[in-house]
Symmetry: C2
Subunit: 330 residues, 2 copies
């Protein structure tokens, strides 16, 4: 057991208690529903951005609730969608008359429960809630719309938060967020499982020294399992997939996210980014801005992902707009 | 091997290449000397703050080079002090006529090499360089001045960077930085070694399920090795040591840093902070501000540390002053 917790069944509640105490200037938490609410929402009525999903990906999702990014996060159990009631309560907690946008990674449980939350908000309170699911994981399905959401959540959510902060209406926020998602492509590689708090055991077996390109953040199967190779070779293969699939090509401009999955040293993340940057340059693709770090983790999984967002002027402006949250500040 | 690198001997150079490419708005890197230099230094002459030490603690040290924090970082090999020449080159790269302050954790190799760098700067160029070493690791020695520096580097460096930005002269920057260090107390717990890039092996042996309170970030021995306990029990023991040693007591105000050592989930860090916050409240100690995350790591070591900084008005103002670096923004 390589975790520092108390009872594994209490881990989400205790994390939230710690989170609220540490970030009291940014958020208050409705502990009954596990809804993290910004204390920094604009006083003017705005579209509110509500993110969420299972726990175990911290600082995703709650770490991005603050000023001009997400207004609330709905927090599920570890690797488990939040309940419909909680999704609904989040709307009631933040709506200012302009409607809300639900934003989360495309997983069946989340889709079902957030959709029920949106229905309740409309039927009970007449609040309009729209949804964009992130679908950035290149290897998870052939059709873009069927793909899972992984670290691409970060830039897609950021675009939505900035658009809402600028006063876009709900249809406009939804449209630009969909455009950002359409332009966002990720692929990961994992070298280990994460450790489940309740059992203290790995979620799935993986031999020391093995790796799997394309593995999902909950251990969804990737391309194939094989021995770990040198970073440059792995990045070459990952970028080949991403560039071929995304059609991002010479003359395009991109935002790049190298995301650590929890237990990969920042040192290694930069060794990986070095090769990403070389490949993009070789292909005539211009890098506008880069983030490297642990933004969307799978607890203590060893691994990383690369995300490219193809930019246009609108997405670039929204991605770069100021924001202030505990884990993302611009 | 749970690392994503190329040749282990190239890891620092490749990390720096990746770092410069990703953070080109913040820094330029003298690759020959491995000196990371801010592109955001004040145009007015100011005392310059130079930090550094061995690699493997990222984002410490280079991650805090930017605006109004550190002006340069000198980067050694993994767990190895930078060379004297590099320490000297850092001074030449940033000095603006007001002198420089070297800041690093108190380790014999670093002390020797930075001292030689300071001598060269004085003899060759007449530049005055003063030094403050951080000595926050409660368990590492009886006398405060003999202790090692661990995550307390972050707040101590921040105080120095803010003081320099406000125009304090070299004696004043040094004095307030020494005061901050005198008020800074840390204690860590480790559940595993980190993995050395060159060998792919752990630095030291540690059985799965064991822990060691007081272990240093390079594996220096702690209090005793025993089976992992519940987080609350570990934090209770750690805080007992810190509060007894620091004499921080009812009525005092503190800054708190819960620092992940590399592979401990953020989730667990908040479970730990929850208990820290409870204990401080029970003791009548007021928490002014808290940071939770991976600020000073030991690559992929599983573990965390707690740092308390006892505040007065001056330290509080400097700790809270604005800054902009890739890994710390206020």
């Amino acid at each position: 057991m390589k975790r520092l917790i108390n009872d594994g069944y209490d881990v989400v509640e205790e994390m939230l208690e710690g989170y609220e105490a540490a970030n009291k200037n940014y958020v208050k938490i409705d502990m009954e529903n596990r809804v993290v609410v910004s204390k920094m929402m604009s006083e003017e009525p705005r579209v509110r951005v509500i993110v969420g999903g299972g726990s175990g990906h911290e600082p995703m999702f709650l770490g991005y609730v603050g000023k001009d990014f997400a207004d609330a996060a709905v927090v599920g159990n570890v690797n488990t969608s939040p309940a419909p009631d909680a999704c609904y309560e989040a709307v009631k907690a933040v709506d200012s008359g302009k409607g809300c946008l639900y934003l989360y990674g495309n997983y069946a449980g989340d889709v079902m429960n957030f959709d029920m939350g949106a229905e309740m908000a409309l039927e009970e309170d007449g609040i309009r809630v729209e949804t964009v699911t992130t679908t950035d994981d290149v290897f998870s399905a052939k059709e873009k719309k069927d793909r899972r959401g992984v670290a691409g959540d970060l830039p897609v959510f950021k675009v939505a938060g900035s658009a809402a902060a600028k006063g876009y209406d709900l249809d406009q926020v939804k449209a630009v967020t969909e455009k950002a998602n359409d332009n966002t492509y990720s692929l990961g590689v994992a070298l280990s499982s994460s450790t489940l708090p309740v059992t203290g055991e790995a979620i799935f077996e993986m031999d020391e020294g093995d790796m799997e390109i394309g593995m999902g953040i909950h251990g969804e199967p990737g391309i194939e399992r094989r021995k770990v190779e040198k970073a440059d070779k792995i990045i070459d293969e990952m970028l080949t997939y991403i560039l071929e699939d995304s059609k991002i090509t010479s003359g395009d401009e991109v935002y790049v996210l190298v995301n650590g999955l929890g237990a990969l040293p920042v040192m290694d993340q930069y060794v990986c980014y070095r090769r990403v940057d070389q490949i993009l340059k070789e292909n005539g693709i211009q890098v506008h801005r880069t983030d490297v770090g642990n933004f969307a983790t799978s607890m203590d999984m060893v691994g990383m992902s690369v995300t490219l967002v193809k930019l246009d002027e609108e997405i670039k402006e929204l991605l770069d707009a100021p924001c202030d949250t505990p884990y993302y500040k611009l």
